[in-house]
């Protein structure tokens, strides 16, 4: 057996922790360290907050080696960012828009939602030097290996993962061709504009077409794509990130043109896929003995609006903080389209919509 120093140290560390925790039972030694400010939780440091683009933020973070492994990072992925807002730890997912591996630095592109507690907090309160919690990079939205030519279609803040993909491709020695079609609301609200511009001159492997939708939204047809020089048949992967309507039109386009390309998409807003809510249905939150009439929104939102205190995190089906037992009823997962109709299944209420009366044991 091969026992190196690191393994021995890990085993000793675990044993020591186990022994100490018998003395502090039912607490752990970490519980004490936390309240004396000695806890060693991996945190990311905010390097800068750029508010120059209208309604958006670009946050540069220095990630901690302890929970960040560059080998596991794929351009196009997102992270979960956790910040304390008014005493509540709130978690949201944001795409990485740029990286600087040498400095352990990542940048997150964030569209400010004026009704959203977290993005508003970030835009008003976050400053350089703050410490925030950041997960490792996650998600399946990255360029398929082996794709020779890729079309990226971005709408609004959907450009953030695309930006990281373009950066990685242009800075690597691959011969992959990347085209980016970006629908931005206006010149002032264009995220990553200057950053992307720099690559257009640098390399002929990158084609970039920027459309301001304030000047009118062009219809996505094969003719239109040809007219901007993005001929569809050349691509073996198409990636789309943005509003559901954009995703749908790209999928329709691919189908109409009978393309043989991989189609990948990233959703920022799941509610676009929601079905019209049947208001005859009743949602029962059993722990609080509260009944709520069904309406537009997820089970989580319906509960919260009725004053039920519910655990939640990312609110987009990722972190499972909101998972709870569905005792009876049928729900649809808006993210995957999956139908859960068996009793006592665990569901994520932040992305679920009721199709029948539902009882939840939250």
């Amino acid at each position: 057996m091969d026992l190196d120093c690191e393994h021995v140290f890990t085993v000793l560390h675990v044993m020591l922790n186990f022994i100490i925790n018998q003395f502090t039972y039912p607490k752990t030694i970490a519980d004490y360290l936390k309240y004396f400010g000695l806890e060693k939780q991996p945190k990311a440091k905010v390097l800068s907050v750029d508010r120059s683009v209208e309604n958006s933020l670009s946050i540069a973070l220095e990630v901690d080696d302890k929970n960040w492994d560059w080998k596991l990072y794929h351009p196009g992925q997102y992270v979960m960012l956790t910040v304390p807002v008014e005493g509540r730890f709130q978690t949201r997912c944001f795409s990485i828009s740029e990286v600087n591996q040498a400095n352990n630095e990542i940048k997150l592109g964030i569209r400010i939602n004026q009704k959203g507690t977290v993005t508003r907090y970030l835009s008003e309160r976050l400053k350089a030097g703050d410490q925030v919690e950041v997960s490792s990079a996650m998600g399946e939205f990255h360029v398929p290996t082996g794709a020779k030519s890729v079309l990226l279609v971005a709408g609004g803040s959907g450009v953030t993962p695309m930006s990281a993909i373009v950066q990685a491709e242009m800075e690597s020695a691959s011969d992959r061709h990347i085209d980016l079609l970006y629908f931005s609301p206006s010149a002032k609200a264009t995220m990553q504009g200057a950053f992307l511009d720099q690559y257009t001159d640098q390399s002929d492997r990158f084609g970039y077409h920027l459309v301001y939708t304030s000047d009118g939204r062009p219809e996505m047809t094969a003719e239109y794509m040809n007219s901007i020089g993005f001929e569809l048949s050349q691509y073996d992967a198409i990636m789309v990130c943005g509003p559901s309507a954009l995703k749908r039109s790209v999928y329709e386009l691919a189908e109409a043109a009978d393309l043989n390309a991989d189609l990948l998409s990233e959703n920022f807003s799941i509610l676009d896929d929601a079905e019209e809510a049947n208001t005859d249905l009743t949602i029962t939150f059993m722990q609080n003995n509260t009944q709520v009439q069904n309406g537009p929104g997820t089970l989580l939102e319906l509960g919260e609006n009725a004053g039920v205190s519910l655990q939640s995190g990312c609110r987009s089906g990722i972190c499972h903080m909101c998972s709870c037992q569905k005792v009876s009823g049928t729900v649809k997962n808006l993210l995957t389209g999956e139908i859960s109709d068996l009793p006592n299944e665990t569901i994520q209420i932040c992305v679920s919509q009721a199709l029948t009366d539902v009882e939840l044991n939250q």
Partner: protein, 371 residues
């Protein structure tokens, strides 16, 4: 005819319930940073008391004066941990913070009663069926005490004052074991096999707590004595073990007194089985108000009782952060006055005397009382 004591008719109960609900909604939407800061500060202070207590007990082997203060410090830390921290977190009062360390379902307190068992008997049974005879196991603690007319008199209740002293000293064990349902086992409603299944996690936690208090931590002192002063080894053992025992007893006695003052004064109402059937939320509020009683006192009384000095408010709003009870109490009292519903409050001494009189009263058979 209402099934409740007739201070109010059903319509008035609903109206009062709506006013209470409005108070709750107002506070719950106002929760924020200051509540988290308060709880974290309490945890910090509790840990300081605990560490000073443990270290002081070691030092006390050589300097007995320190030992006395250290035992008190450890006792206070256990009171804080059980009552202001554990009890409140385990009621999910801080779940809204999304802080895993403040999450009700995951918190385990420094007490022989396992948190999972506590959530069943206390959070669920006691807080749902408060003071309903036969359903709320806290009403008379599983047949250990007779506290209302609905309970049948048995000869052993003659000694309930004496038994009470014993239970007070070992209160944490009584709390841990009362999920077993001693009277259910005796009456054959629960088999020994079922009881054993319930006992296993309780017994395991008791074992680990005993190991910590009377074997592992004293072993540190004994080990130290072995190295530096072998003649003090025995003294090191008994002083650390006795210190831990006394600290546990301090907590047991205080918790017992606070809880009995919260539900068993002469003014606290009890309810017959069936009250819970088809009960509305407002009816539940009404029952909580009638079945609980407060202790008057200042900020120190509030923090040392885990805000159970506001037992009425706690029973109305078990998942509201307890540091808010003092600000809602005057509003609840005003509502009680407006509707003419009793709001039982008094100083610690007076409430304690009232509990004493009640236990004494019910220790006698009904015919003796009538005569």
């Amino acid at each position: 005819m209402s099934k409740y004591p007739d201070y109010l008719n059903d319509e008035q109960i609903e109206a009062m319930g709506a006013e209470i609900q409005a108070i709750r909604d107002e506070v719950m939407s106002d929760l924020g940073e200051r509540d988290v800061r308060y709880m974290k500060r309490v945890i910090f202070v509790q840990q300081v008391f605990e560490i000073l207590g443990r270290l002081g007990i070691f030092a006390g082997i050589l300097y007995p004066v320190i030992w006395v203060f250290a035992v008190i410090s450890l006792g206070l830390s256990k009171i804080l941990e059980n009552m202001e921290v554990g009890h409140n977190i385990m009621h999910s009062q801080f779940d809204w913070t999304n802080d895993p360390k403040l999450k009700g379902k995951d918190y385990e307190w420094d007490n022989v009663c396992p948190a999972s068992s506590w959530r069943q008997t206390h959070n669920y049974m006691h807080h749902t069926y408060t003071n309903i005879e036969g359903l709320d196991k806290d009403l008379g603690y599983d047949g250990m005490f007779r506290v209302c007319d609905e309970q049948e008199w048995k000869p052993e209740f003659r000694y309930q004052m004496l038994i009470g002293v014993f239970i007070m000293l070992s209160f944490q064990n009584a709390v841990a074991l009362h999920e077993l349902g001693v009277d259910d086992i005796r009456d054959g409603k629960r088999t020994h096999k079922e009881a054993w299944h319930i006992f296993k996690p309780i017994g395991w936690k008791m074992f680990r707590q005993i190991m910590k208090e009377f074997v592992l931590i004293p072993a540190i002192a004994v080990g130290g004595a072995f190295l530096f002063a072998p003649e003090l080894m025995w003294q090191a053992y008994w002083m650390t073990a006795l210190g831990a025992l006394l600290a546990n007893i301090i907590r047991n006695v205080w918790a017992f007194l606070v809880i009995f003052c919260g539900h068993f004064t002469e003014g606290a109402h009890t309810f017959p089985q069936g009250t819970e059937i088809n009960e509305t939320k407002a009816g539940w509020y009404y029952r909580q108000m009638l079945g609980s009683c407060n202790i008057e006192g200042g900020a120190l009384m509030n923090v040392m009782t885990g805000n159970l000095s506001h037992q009425i408010e706690h029973h109305l709003f078990p998942d509201m952060p307890a540091n808010r009870y003092k600000e809602v109490a005057p509003k609840i009292q005003a509502i009680a006055k407006k509707y003419g519903v009793p709001y039982d409050t008094g100083t610690f001494g007076n409430q304690l005397k009232s509990v004493y009189r009640r236990l004494k009263h019910y220790s006698k058979p009904p015919e003796e009382v009538a005569a």
